[in-house]
Symmetry: none
DNA sequence: GCAAAAACAGCAAAAACTTGCAAGATTTCG
DNA sequence: CGAAATCTTGCAAGTTTTTGCTGTTTTTGC
């Protein structure tokens, strides 16, 4: 068995189960634990997975829907939010999904900016209501307990009647090959409807979530118009995304 | 089990319940209490949660509604909320409007009670989502900046398709002669639709608002089935309401 | 102030990691 | 083709990390 095959298997397992034990890999691949260890070490250095004591995890593994008080991560998100806000202009009608990064965007919208925003996220709606000049329309539906996010036919239906200027999606898992993925089936239904309803799709993502894959696919990278991360557009981590027609902000 | 998995579980629990006990964690994860203690210590140092004696809490969690500071009024409202909760039973589908009294109801719903609740209030929806067994459906629409309440045709339309067991209205101005009144035209449209959609209408009101009238009329007293206040049902203040077929709780 | 619960510190066993090395496979290049 | 160089793989010895246990100190509730 070739090294590349092994490493591909390891990556597949990590993407599938979000975690993997070195012992299991050594068993499944019929090689010594040392070999697996070395493979994982390499993949870790290539930032394709995260090596931990006893195994490995996918990058999305340690992230959470709520603000986790991680100051490092938070500053990244604020930096992303600042860039995103600069994309907005007076009179626009936009769509916003949920997630902590979108929350930061909602908070950072200038008081003077006149906007109409549709959102299925309770937290984002709440934050937007602080702005006098923003008209907020909540896309109602069944609320998810953890994400505080409306899903289901009602939301998708309402979205099918919209044609807005821009759609801002946060908390996505991004990979050049697999596109934008999520771990919740109902959420991707809504996000897909959001993308369909918008002229432009803007993706916000911290670099930690680049090159990470979840179970369900929202869309291909070709559906994305603008990618906003905290990295400099020249960063090599973004190289795999360059084949697509993206504006890296 | 990987350390990362344990820590993720711990963080998830903290985010979900805002607090956890080390004993429960040790039980759930099948590891010694010391291991959990060490995990929590680490997460605390990483500022991902706050370690406290006996467990951990999520910091960043504070009550959503700004307390109005009036302790008298608040205790009245809690007393009303307690009575209201006792009217609920397993499996019911109900409608809840906004307001601080309804917020108290939402908070006091027993963890075991299985309900489906429709609401156009952001705050109430948020509070209800704390309960695992409550399915929350938000009635989407244009949000009022001050009341954090959805109004407009979308809400009224959605309501016209419902036939629920009970409708709980808060923050009303009540008078035996003029009925239930409000100061916002858009709000009464929604409340009227809520009353139409429900088999029973329950009004929550602190005694201060009895015998007070506002500009717009939601409904007559004849449309109200149950009146919940903090007063004893024999209180003379309630006399003018007795001609109506009310259950005074 | 007292008893119970929780936190802490130190220790030891087990699991996992690192490093160096040697045998076999693969590639390079004259 | 064939020998040297390189890469890969597995093994063994030594080190580090993790984890549960013990006894001691601190905190909490009555």
């Amino acid at each position: 068995m070739l090294k590349e095959e092994r490493q591909k298997y390891i990556l597949d397992q990590v993407h599938l189960h979000h975690r993997v034990l070195l012992n299991d890999l050594s068993d499944a691949l019929n090689v010594s634990i040392d070999t697996v260890r070395r493979d994982v070490k390499e993949l870790d250095q290539e930032k394709k997975l995260k090596k931990v004591h006893g195994g490995a995890t996918s990058f999305g593994f340690m992230t959470f829907t709520k603000d986790d008080g991680n100051i490092y991560l938070k500053s990244k998100k604020i930096s992303i939010a600042e860039k995103t806000v600069s994309l907005l202009s007076d009179g626009q009608v936009i769509l916003m999904s949920g997630g902590t990064t979108n929350m930061e965007v909602a908070k950072l919208i200038p008081k003077k900016l006149v906007l109409t925003v549709f959102t299925p996220s309770l937290h984002v709606a709440m934050a937007l209501l602080e702005h006098e000049n923003v008209e907020v329309i909540f896309l109602g539906g069944k609320l998810l307990h953890d994400a505080k996010f409306a899903v289901g036919g009602t939301v998708v239906n309402a979205l099918s009647q919209l044609r807005v200027d821009m759609c801002i999606l946060g908390t996505g898992y991004l990979d050049a090959k697999f596109g934008l993925t999520e771990f919740d089936w109902e959420v991707i239904q809504v996000k897909q409807a959001m993308i369909r309803a918008a002229k432009k799709t803007v993706i916000l993502t911290v670099s930690d979530k680049l090159h990470s894959v979840q179970k369900y696919k929202t869309c291909d990278m070709t559906a994305v118009h603008t990618l906003v991360t905290e990295l400099d557009p020249s960063d090599p981590l973004l190289d795999t995304f360059r084949p697509f027609e993206l504006v890296l902000v």
